[in-house]
């Protein structure tokens, strides 16, 4: 381990220990800051009882549906808009009008149409993830070396095969950038939509724990969420390294 990492972990331990001591000494309101040991015990208990895994599973179902829906719609659309100036210009005004809408305000609209079920959350995640994927795909396709496409044509590749074999691989790094940005947005929006209109999921769990003043459970939920974010990011890096290998 690097020495800088060690001092980092020492600092982390110091923060945790200071929290524990300050909370035990009664220097802070225990209602707001319960002792760290109590939070961790609560986290482990919720993990063992299956409560946290169940809530995370609900959130992940919604997140995955919205995320993959956005990818399946926006990558082909982005390729079309990146390849054809005509398609791009036809859709430009619609895209530029919808893009500045802050995603959370789409939640009330989605609630009108879809109620407070999974459909609402999936739509909201789809809406917010769509932009980074779409814009990065357009950019990636536009920046492809024209020579590559011409070469493919010279060798008699049909349009569909050119897109699959030449355009998509060449634009892949930038598409991955869009997918990566969208991944963290997905997590934010699933939590927001569960806070505003839901009866389960990790976002609901955290807000509800706060409202019932089960503060240790609230912090336990936040620990679970941080772990989830970390794991998802690492998983994404792993997959994208494999997909982009040889580049």
């Amino acid at each position: 381990m690097r020495p800088s990492k060690i001092s980092g972990f020492v600092a982390l331990l110091a923060v945790v220990a200071a929290w524990e001591l300050v909370a035990r000494a009664g220097l802070v309101n225990p209602l707001l800051f319960p002792a760290m040991s109590k939070i961790l015990a609560s986290f482990l208990a919720l993990l063992a009882s299956g409560e946290i895994p169940a809530q995370i599973a609900r959130s992940m179902e919604r997140a995955a549906a919205g995320y993959f829906l956005a990818a399946t719609v926006c990558i082909p659309l982005g390729v079309a808009m990146g390849l054809s100036e005509r398609v791009y210009r036809a859709l430009e005004v619609v895209v530029e009008t919808l893009r500045p809408v802050p995603p959370p305000v789409v939640i009330p609209v989605a609630m009108l149409f879809l109620g407070i079920g999974d459909g609402m959350k999936i739509f909201v995640i789809f809406f917010s993830c769509a932009w980074p994927i779409l814009l990065n795909t357009i950019d990636g396709v536009r920046n492809i070396d024209g020579l590559l496409v011409d070469t493919a044509r010279t060798f008699g590749l049909a349009r569909g095969r050119t897109i699959l074999k030449v355009v998509l691989p060449a634009a892949a790094p930038q598409i991955m950038t869009g997918l990566r940005i969208s991944l963290s947005i997905t997590l934010i929006l699933v939590v927001i939509s569960e806070m505003i209109g839901s009866t389960d999921g990790i976002g609901y769990f955290i807000l509800n724990a706060q409202r019932r003043l089960k503060v240790d459970q609230m912090y336990a939920g936040m620990i679970a969420l941080a772990l989830l974010g970390y794991i998802l990011n690492q998983a994404f890096l792993f997959v994208s390294k494999r997909l982009l290998r040889g580049r």
């Binding site: 020495p3 800088s4 990492k5 001092s7 980092g8 972990f9 600092a11 982390l12 923060v15 209602l31 707001l32 100036e85 005509r86 210009r89 036809a90 859709l91 430009e92 005004v93 619609v94 009008t97 919808l98 500045p100 809408v101 802050p102 995603p103 959370p104 305000v105 789409v106 939640i107 009330p108 609209v109 609630m111 009108l112 149409f113 963290s184 997590l187 934010i188 939590v191 927001i192 806070m195 505003i196 976002g203 955290i206 807000l207 724990a209 706060q210 503060v215 609230m218 912090y219 939920g221 936040m222 969420l225 941080a226 772990l227 974010g229 970390y230 990011n233």
Partner: protein
């Protein structure tokens, strides 16, 4: 890109056609409760009492946005310069940063409600928390990638540590800081509107959710138009300010390349 970009007839045509389709569909009836025609939303926008209410909510949202965003910028740039410049400070805080960063920032809202109650302080605090991350990380990057020659030159000319930070490190890291500020802008707006929805008594986020619950969808859409315009205007403003603030840099680079 072509020269006739300014006026996009096809794009405007598609946009108008979609609006027209929406107008006709919802006029055909049966969907008023969730999809009023766009003309009804526009009409709501021009009604004096709705417009007055919207203006008040807009002012509330804008105030919280500016408070949170500007404070986040000041705090995160200051912290980022220190963490980027001092190896010790960075190694001490690295693990804590890596632990906090992957947590979706909105999860901090319940904690903020507990500690600060319901009000502007809570909303500004969560906005600062969320908007600070991209600025902090980019500032650290910018200062760490600083050309050592610049610092050494400054030292040769007898500049003290503080002056080097102010007059050398900060300007050199400016493009990175600008990137962080650009990424943070929509994040700050997301956090302001979200906290207004979860625990607000005014602001555009509150208004939009409240009109939805009161079954006045035309007003809700009017609110969304206003918040989209706000997002658009803030982005344009940012691009304009950034172009002016970093103009010296571009001139320098152009000269360097020539």
């Amino acid at each position: 890109m072509r020269a006739d970009r300014r006026f996009n007839l096809a794009g405007l045509g598609v946009f108008a056609a979609l609006l027209l389709l929406w107008e006709l569909y919802s006029r055909a009836g049966g969907v008023e409760s969730y999809l009023p025609p766009p003309s009804a939303a526009l009409k709501a926008l021009t009604e004096p009492n709705v417009a007055r209410a919207l203006f008040g909510h807009l002012a509330g949202t804008l105030g919280r946005f500016l408070g949170g965003y500007l404070l986040a910028a000041a705090l995160a740039v200051a912290a980022g310069v220190v963490l980027g410049y001092s190896r010790f400070a960075y190694s001490v805080s690295e693990v804590i940063i890596e632990l906090l960063r992957p947590m979706p920032s909105v999860a901090i809202i319940p904690v903020a409600i507990l500690c600060l109650g319901i009000g502007d302080a809570m909303m500004i605090a969560v906005t600062i928390y969320a908007a600070a991350w991209p600025i902090l990380l980019n500032t650290i990057d910018g200062v760490r990638n600083l050309d050592r020659t610049l610092v050494d030159t400054g030292r040769t000319f007898g500049l003290g540590r503080v002056k080097i930070l102010w007059q050398v490190a900060l300007p050199a890291a400016a493009p990175y800081i600008a990137t962080g500020l650009r990424v943070s802008l929509p994040i700050a707006l997301i956090l302001v509107t979200t906290s207004e929805m979860v625990a607000g008594v005014n602001g555009l986020g509150f208004f939009i959710l409240d009109e939805e619950r009161s079954l006045r969808p035309a007003n809700m859409y009017a609110g969304i138009v206003v918040v989209a315009l706000l997002g658009y205007a803030l982005n344009r403003l940012f691009v304009a300010v950034e172009a002016r603030a970093l103009a010296w840099k571009r001139g320098l680079q152009a000269k360097g390349e020539a």
